[in-house]
């Protein structure tokens, strides 16, 4: 099914239909991750792949128009390149050990240590969180900074026009109000917020964590924007509040590292945060997860705002 979806994506010319098929593609790959028992990856794929990326691509389409430009040259050159690359990749995988074999290098080097010792060293039921937050603290910090850098890029390229536009008066002809959706969204949104926070703080215990929580939280705001309009969303959470918050999120992450340094440990070694190293690890992970969640949520909202307001500037009503 994955392959069929990918083929259809290539065949179609309406960019819009392609976006939706991408959504299906993400859902499918997330299913596969679940089947492979990679729950956290599936969680992220569901939230980021199916949700946010679809919406952001849509936002881009609003800006650029929704039909593929006619290609300037024939399809043969890219096709050859793709086939050659694919062949090289497949040739490369021939060297790899059989999928799932017990003696894969992956299973022999770090994984046993993670699996066997993380319960004692960190004491969290969800191993993935331990690995991401503690053993691989540097990598994750890099990711957060990448997200932040993406925000900086988008803001400097597109920028957010804050509600300077005159309040539009909707006539029933121009844009009928959407009463059903507004009532339902209004009743639903608080629970989405709370669900996002739940995912945020239970990342230690089950699948979840800062990245996913940030996306869920942002999606609640996006739902609000979609049903009530951009101006109201600005009033609820204005971009000028969000911008410093995004930076603060990164600072919380880095600051946790600095605190551990000051307390005499290594950078991002949380064991020194409390008397008991296990508790220290717990608090440290909680803190950085909070930083991640804050950054991801605010960055997602800001990028969404940027795209939407850009679309509005072009005269499209979003």
């Amino acid at each position: 099914m994955l392959a069929a979806t990918a083929l259809a994506v290539v065949r179609l010319h309406s960019l819009f239909a392609i976006v939706m098929l991408f959504g299906i593609y993400s859902l499918l790959s997330a299913c596969i991750f679940v089947v492979l028992d990679a729950v956290d990856v599936a969680f992220t794929e569901a939230a980021v792949g199916a949700g946010i990326s679809t919406m952001l691509i849509l936002g881009t389409l609003v800006i650029t128009g929704h039909h593929e430009k006619n290609p300037k040259h024939g399809p043969w050159l890219p096709l050859i390149v793709v086939i050659v690359t694919g062949a090289v990749l497949i040739w490369g995988t021939l060297d790899m050990p059989i999928f799932g074999a017990a003696d894969n290098p992956v299973h022999q080097h770090v994984a046993p240590r993670y699996i066997e010792q993380s319960p004692q060293e960190i004491g969290l039921p969800n191993m993935v969180t331990s690995v991401l937050g503690s053993y691989r603290g540097y990598d994750t910090m890099g990711e957060v900074i990448v997200v932040f850098a993406a925000l900086v890029g988008v803001l400097s390229l597109i920028g957010i026009t804050e509600g300077k536009s005159p309040k539009r008066q909707y006539t029933s002809d121009d844009k009928p109000p959407r009463p059903v959706l507004q009532v339902m969204a209004k009743l639903l949104i608080p629970y989405i917020f709370l669900f996002g926070l739940y995912v945020q703080f239970h990342g230690d215990f089950g699948p979840g964590g800062g990245f996913q929580a940030g996306v869920i939280f942002a999606s609640a705001i996006i739902l609000y924007t979609l049903t009530f309009g951009l101006d109201d969303a600005y009033e609820l959470v204005s971009p000028s509040v969000l911008r410093p918050l995004a930076a603060i999120g990164v600072l919380i992450y880095g600051g946790t590292g600095v605190v551990t340094l000051l307390l005499g440990g290594n950078f991002l070694n949380y064991s020194v945060l409390a008397d008991d190293p296990v508790h220290g690890q717990h608090y440290g992970i909680l803190a950085i997860e909070f930083g991640i969640g804050l950054t991801v949520a605010t960055v997602m909202m800001l990028i969404f705002y940027a795209f939407i307001s850009r679309g509005e500037k072009r005269g499209n009503e979003v």
Binding site: F16, A17, M20, I24, F43, T54, L58, V199, I216
Partner: protein, 90 residues
């Protein structure tokens, strides 16, 4: 029992996929995607039981949420872009 349910759900997803490919209008595709999404949610729930790890349910909830918001977003987008068009695909 759960395996049979999962298989049936996969079959439904496949049919929805056919509808998504066939179109013909944008709305048919969105309908198919929506159906696909809800079936994914059910599939995840059933699969959690199949493997004896029902903690997949959080993911199922997130899916349901993302699916809903995605559909709303897509609809808003269609209303925006095809404002002058006929609403038909291509």
């Amino acid at each position: 029992m759960f395996a049979a349910t999962c298989l049936a759900l996969l079959a439904i997803m496949a049919i929805a996929l056919v509808r998504a490919f066939m179109g013909p209008s944008v709305y048919d595709r969105i309908l198919a995607v929506n159906m696909f999404g809800t079936k994914t949610v059910l599939f995840l729930a059933a699969f959690g039981f199949l493997t004896g790890r029902p903690d997949f349910l959080d993911i199922a909830l997130v899916y349901a949420l993302i699916n809903f918001i995605g559909i709303i977003a897509v609809l808003r987008f269609v209303e925006t872009v095809t404002h002058t068009g006929t609403g038909a695909d291509d």
